[in-house]
């Protein structure tokens, strides 16, 4: 049986801020108890990732985002037949829709942790701003993964300020030292 929680990060380590997802995964791997959590990374999402959602209780997609207004955002996802069907790189919601079509049932609760990025050129390093956003997102991910309860994740996704209520809001200087 697969582990109940799946953390699926997308991105390319050699394309600037596109590395945000895989880098967060590396942080989680180094700092988190993985007995109940499976970590997967890929360049981009595709149809076969729908099969990775099978028999999970919670799924967290992690990806760089150009549309984030905050350093990072947690969003609960619904299956959606969006425009990403027409590309080699599907959205998490589209992967969920593929799951629903294949399995004839709803996918497990899925969330997207988007981390704000700004530059994605081949051969670039992570930008300074993205590095700061990553630090905050890493701390948040550790807190979130210590509460693998869908109600808590939903509360966090609904909150304008994630981490409120988890009792682990880090101080700014902690984030800078991370």
């Amino acid at each position: 049986m697969p582990k109940p929680v799946l953390l699926l990060a997308c991105g390319n380590l050699s394309r600037g801020d596109d590395a945000l997802g895989p880098l967060l995964l590396e942080y989680v791997e180094a700092h988190c108890d993985l007995s109940e959590i499976e970590l997967l990374t890929d360049f981009q999402l595709q149809i076969e990732h729908a099969l990775d959602l099978e028999n999970r209780e919670l799924v967290l997609f992690v990806d760089a985002s150009v549309s984030c207004t905050d350093p990072f955002e947690l969003t609960e996802l619904e299956p959606a037949q969006d425009n990403s069907y027409t590309t080699h790189a599907m959205s998490p919601a589209a992967v969920m829709a593929v799951y629903r079509s294949i399995k004839k049932q709803l996918p497990p609760p899925c969330f997207l942790l988007g981390i704000k990025g700004e530059s994605f050129e081949l051969g670039e390093e992570l930008s300074e701003n993205a590095g700061k956003n990553l630090q905050q997102a890493c701390r948040f991910a550790l807190s979130l993964l210590s509460h693998t309860d869908v109600a808590v994740w939903r509360q966090q996704a609904d909150s304008r300020h994630p981490l409120a209520g988890l009792g682990m809001l880090p101080r700014p200087q902690d984030l800078m030292d991370a």
Binding site: N12, D42, F43, E48, L51, V66, S84, V98, I102, L122
Partner: protein, 498 residues
């Protein structure tokens, strides 16, 4: 041919239409059309809007990093770059392809068959089957994998599972889905365990059956729409690819064979290490992507096509029985020595999918695949060239290193670059045949995308941040004023802004 539509006279008096980006191809491409006052197409071009900078990314790095580093060039065919780079750095450590151990060669072949299988499955089932099963001008809401899964659930599910199986072959051989280090200089770094082999054997017969079914499906689709499928976007061209010494289809290693549109041989068993004696690349001011051509035929006539259509056209036979039977049917449907139909790329691609599934089974039953003699050593050289047949066609990696093993020069010719001229010709054929004089609509413009998509181009690489996938169609008049605009949003809805 349609080269007269590459550059229009008096373009300042023409209307401009842009399809930007082309969807269901990898990366970002843009088609621009210039129309006269009667909506007759006067100019059509496929532009590549991203400059890749591959060579600059590679130069200055130690050669042993390359098999991992180059995987990051492309999120769709990382294994192809991985293996082409590995073949090149084999030479840097003094090992020629024939000197790899049998186990190392067979593990690399297995890895490559897995890559081609998953890539071809993705392209057909996810990217192309909506057009082929529902029609090129069908409702845009239907042209996606979900609609295929709903209307043809068995076919859609087979596509997902074939793609997954190919990924599992990659994972077993290289240790990871991505960033694997299967191939290293002079060989492979791990063998396949018996458990891994047996795991892959469990489903391989099912994969062969499904692949055979998909060949039957595409043959039915193609032949039930003749002569349209033989004429749509079709151009006459030269064809180039690797070939085995006995003339059999080859994906991993061989000499270069090129044939002209009559099936006459231009090059045969040509040593790819001398590729720059036979192939040059032309730069044109309006595109970032170069235009390769065969030197012996010159810039005007020397352009060629690569990929499944070229490979199946060029080979004398395929060395797996079901794929060979499918090839014979494929060739028999045409009255010519070479099949020129651009839509026949799909048919040829699925014949290769079947060949890959059959070849994976053969390799899994080969005792060498679980052997442990994996690495060969030799004396250092300062130049290495690796060439393979990637899913989309012939892929060249060429490196030079200094005495400190640092890459000082890198040259890559990727498959899509070789098909650049051909894709432009197909775009012009479709524009001239199907678009001239008609009011432009999204379904009509999808015809252009269908033509490009048949080549399965990889126009860019793995940047994919959330929220970067709009599709816009713009009509601009001679003064640069926006006359009409279609915007497709991420949720699939379309707005018209007149």
């Amino acid at each position: 041919m349609y080269e007269h539509l590459e550059t229009a006279e008096s373009s300042e008096n023409l209307k401009r239409v842009a399809v930007d980006p082309v969807s269901r191809v990898e990366g970002h491409g843009k088609v621009t059309l210039l129309l006269d006052e009667n909506n007759q197409v006067r100019q059509a071009r496929l532009h590549i809007v991203e400059f890749r900078g591959f060579e600059r990314f590679i130069q200055g790095r130690p050669y042993w990093e390359l098999p991992v580093l180059v995987q990051r060039l492309c999120g769709i065919c990382p294994v192809s770059h991985h293996l082409a780079a590995a073949k090149a750095i084999d030479q840097l450590v003094g090992v020629d392809p024939d000197n790899l151990t049998p186990s190392a060669t067979k593990l690399r072949r297995l890895l490559h068959f897995g890559q081609v299988l998953q890539s071809h499955a993705l392209h057909f089932f996810h990217l192309s089957s909506p057009d082929l099963l529902f029609g090129f001008e069908s409702d845009i809401g239907k042209r996606n994998i979900i609609a295929v899964l709903n209307a043809y659930p068995d076919i859609g599910l087979q596509g997902v599972k074939q793609r997954k199986y190919g990924q599992e072959v990659i994972r077993m051989v290289s240790g990871k889905r991505i960033h694997g280090t299967g191939a290293i200089a002079g060989g492979m770094n791990k063998s396949l365990t018996k458990a891994e082999r047996d795991y892959l054997l469990e489903d391989v017969d099912q994969m062969i059956r499904w692949a055979a079914d998909s060949v039957a499906l595409i043959k039915k689709v193609h032949c039930s729409s003749l002569p349209f499928y033989d004429e749509f976007a079709t151009i006459r061209s030269n064809y180039l690819g690797l070939i085995q010494p006995n003339g059999a289809l080859e994906l991993y290693h061989g000499g270069i064979r090129a044939k002209n549109d009559q099936g006459e041989t231009i090059l045969d068993h040509f040593d790819y290490c001398r590729y720059n004696e036979a192939i040059h690349e032309e730069v044109r001011s309006w595109s970032y992507m170069k235009f390769p051509y065969l030197l012996s035929l010159g810039k005007e006539n020397g352009w060629y096509r690569v990929g499944p259509l070229a490979r199946v056209n060029n080979c004398d036979f395929i060395d797996t029985p079901m794929a060979e039977a499918a090839r014979l049917e494929f060739k028999a449907h045409s009255n010519e020595a070479m099949v020129h139909s651009t839509l026949a790329f799909h048919w040829a691609r699925l014949i290769e999918l079947l060949h890959c599934a059959e070849s994976i089974k053969i390799l899994l039953h080969d005792p060498d695949i679980i052997g442990h003699d994996l690495v060969t050593q030799g004396e250092k050289r300062f130049e290495g060239i690796g060439v393979i047949e990637a899913p989309r066609g012939t892929l060249f990696h060429h490196y030079q290193v200094d005495e400190n093993d640092i890459v000082t020069k890198a040259n890559l010719i990727v498959s899509t670059t070789s098909n650049n001229m051909a894709m432009n010709e197909s775009v012009r054929q479709v524009a001239a045949t199907y678009l001239s004089g008609r009011e432009l609509t999204e379904p009509l413009l999808n015809n252009l995308e269908v033509a490009i998509r048949a080549y399965d181009p990889c126009l860019s690489c793995a940047t994919h941040a959330v929220g970067k996938m709009p599709l816009q169609l713009e009509l601009v008049d001679a003064e640069g004023n926006l006359v009409d605009k279609l915007v497709k949003h991420n949720d699939g809805t379309i707005d018209r802004h007149a």
